[in-house]
């Protein structure tokens, strides 16, 4: 057997976008390995929605937990579902939850861990993982050592796979047996909502990101308008989040989100390496900056040298005009 498993988080009975992306990736790798894709489902309503992962590419789904709880609390059933299951790989999202669970898997079972990867393929019966390392200075490929256990744990960056709708239909669903783990002791004692709705940057095709140059919370209003006419969402550098102009959930970079949109517009952002690692995988990068020597000029596709306060509103108006015409 050479199945490939993937972590599938559910919210309100529906798989998240990352679950659907990983389902497609697992199905592709499993086809190459001669096995099937196995969903490891958890989160509110996972039991009800699990069969639906069949449409996304899963042959089987194991439900690890269906409650609202910190993701790490499913560690016990997760470890038991992976142990001795003959899996080639377990794909996990390169998010905090995905990393927590992957780390626990690596430590509990002594498995090779990789990531975050930007491409995976099967080679000689094992995964070959391509990563951007040393803050983008190198592209490396890694494989399990010959003596390593057969199952690899792979953190997959969002946007590496596109969800597929061509799956074979319903997946066979089973419930993982309960299993204890120290992680079951982690609990939420308080939850606070700070912002009404925050767009999922990882899923956005167009991102208009603002930095220190935007200058204020009010300055971000012009970026919101540009994002709206483009059908995109707003993101930010750490400087803008630190200043309190936008919530930290919008921060892109090393300690924020890693994004892969079709278009990334960097407005008043210098392009520090910690920011760059979060957005360099964008297909098209446009920068608006008044400093012709800003580092972002070294990796943008289009670099507009000028004052953002003059250019952004005009760009919004121009796009609106063309759409109306």
């Amino acid at each position: 057997m050479a199945d490939v498993a993937f972590l599938a988080e559910f919210v309100d009975g529906h798989p998240t976008r990352s679950a659907l992306e990983l389902a497609a990736g697992a199905a592709e790798l499993a086809a190459a390995a001669g096995g099937g894709a196995v969903g490891l489902a958890y989160g509110p309503g996972a039991a009800d929605g699990a069969a639906g992962l069949g449409a996304a590419g899963a042959a089987r789904v194991v439900v690890l937990g269906s409650e609202a709880a910190p993701a790490v609390t499913i560690a016990g059933p997760l470890v038991e579902a992976v142990r001795d299951a003959g899996l080639v790989a377990v794909l996990a999202p390169a998010t905090p939850d995905g990393r927590d669970l992957s780390g626990v898997l690596v430590g509990s079972l002594g498995l090779p861990g990789f990531g975050p990867v930007r491409a995976v393929r099967m080679e000689g019966g094992a995964v070959r993982c391509e990563m951007s390392t040393l803050q983008g200075a190198m592209i490396t490929a890694s494989q399990p050592a010959p003596s390593a256990p057969a199952t690899s744990v792979v953190l997959v960056s969002s946007g590496t796979y596109a969800p597929s709708e061509g799956g074979s239909g319903t997946a066979v669903v089973s419930q993982a047996p309960a299993a204890d783990s120290p992680q079951a002791k982690v609990r939420i004692v308080e939850t606070a909502a700070e912002a009404a709705a925050i767009a999922a940057l990882e899923e956005a095709e167009i991102i208009v990101a603002g930095g220190r140059g935007v200058g204020s919370e009010a300055g971000f209003e012009a970026l919101n308008q540009l994002a709206a006419v483009l059908g995109g969402v707003v993101g930010a550098s750490r400087a803008a989040a630190d200043a309190g102009w936008v919530p930290y959930q919008l921060q892109i970079g090393q300690t924020g989100k890693v994004v892969k949109p079709a278009l990334y517009l960097a407005v008043g952002i210098s392009g520090a390496i910690q920011h760059r690692v979060g957005m360099q995988a964008a297909e098209h990068i446009v920068a608006i900056n008044r400093d012709p020597d800003a580092p972002i000029g070294e990796f943008a596709d289009l670099f507009v040298v000028g004052d953002l306060f003059e250019i952004v509103p005009r760009l919004t108006a121009e796009i609106e005009r063309r759409k109306g015409a």
């Binding site: 790490v72 498995l111 190198m138 939850t191 606070a192 700070e194 278009l263 670099f303 040298v305």
Partner: protein, 259 residues
């Protein structure tokens, strides 16, 4: 109450990075610093000590002899002691090996909180905190924007999609914190002098009861290449804002990025 902060020596962000013919980072060629994200963990631990919640802050590093420099730099910020785990058998350690060794050293030091930065600058996998927690059999509280300690329990404030959660687990725990805990302090001259005089503890694998034969890395790098060069940006400069806006719109339209 004792906190052990794990610190890793990494190449400086701005340093040029090279690989050796064995596809390992050429450490001799690069300036080494404390992993910047570990400095936030140090800052968090020192704040808890200043708040009277923690009695002792000890640093733990695994690496070559030269990693003792990272311990001295950490001690210069504050703290009570440093332990270096160094052994020739550890060259080429991966996440699994690192986690095994750190877990064994932490078992011996027996802190209530084993604290780490959210990721290391060079690999960015963030797998080690979870792996160490699993090996030690204690709860994991990762990605805290703040660590709080109460009677018998630890809490972290962790971002969720629209706000934050306060997560709690009974002590002992493995925890990691982000750069939101607050800017790391600079080392004072007095701190640097005191750190220089401090005795560091050095352990080899045998001191931890670990057998090098059990510590073969489970992963290996099979290729390392610089990323493909990107063509230089097209530049729009020295034109009136209206003209700039119109040319950006043209550029976007050509690439079908505006409907």
């Amino acid at each position: 109450m004792k906190i052990v902060v794990c610190v890793k020596q990494v190449p400086a962000t701005t340093a040029e990075k090279r690989y050796t013919s064995e596809l390992r980072l050429d450490r001799a060629a690069t300036e080494a610093v404390i992993n910047p994200l570990d400095e936030y963990a140090i800052e968090q631990a020192l704040r808890l000590k200043e708040g009277g919640v923690v009695d002792e802050v000890v640093y733990l590093s695994m690496g070559p002899d030269s990693a003792s420099e990272a311990l001295r730099r950490s001690l210069a910020m504050g703290g009570d002691g440093g332990v270096l785990v160094t052994d020739p058998a550890l060259a080429g350690a991966d996440e699994w090996v690192t986690a095994r060794v750190l877990a064994a050293a932490l078992d011996k030091l027996a802190p209530e909180v084993s604290l780490m930065g959210m990721a290391s600058d060079d690999a960015r996998g963030s797998l080690v905190p979870g792996a160490v927690a699993a090996i030690r059999g204690v709860p994991l509280l990762a990605y805290g924007s703040e660590l709080r300690l109460t009677d018998g329990a630890a809490q972290i404030r962790r971002l969720n999609p629209t706000g934050f959660d306060l997560l709690e687990a009974p002590l002992p725990v493995v925890a990691s914190v982000t750069d939101q805990v607050g800017e790391p302090r600079y080392a004072s001259l007095k701190g640097i002098m005191a750190a220089r005089r401090m005795e560091l503890t050095t352990w080899a694998l045998a001191d931890l009861g670990l057998d090098p034969a059990d510590l073969a890395p489970l992963t290996r790098v099979v290729a390392a290449d610089p990323p493909p060069a990107k063509p230089p940006a097209q530049v729009i400069s020295g034109v009136a804002p209206d003209e700039a806006a119109s040319r950006v719109a043209d550029w976007l339209a050509e690439r079908k990025l505006i409907a």
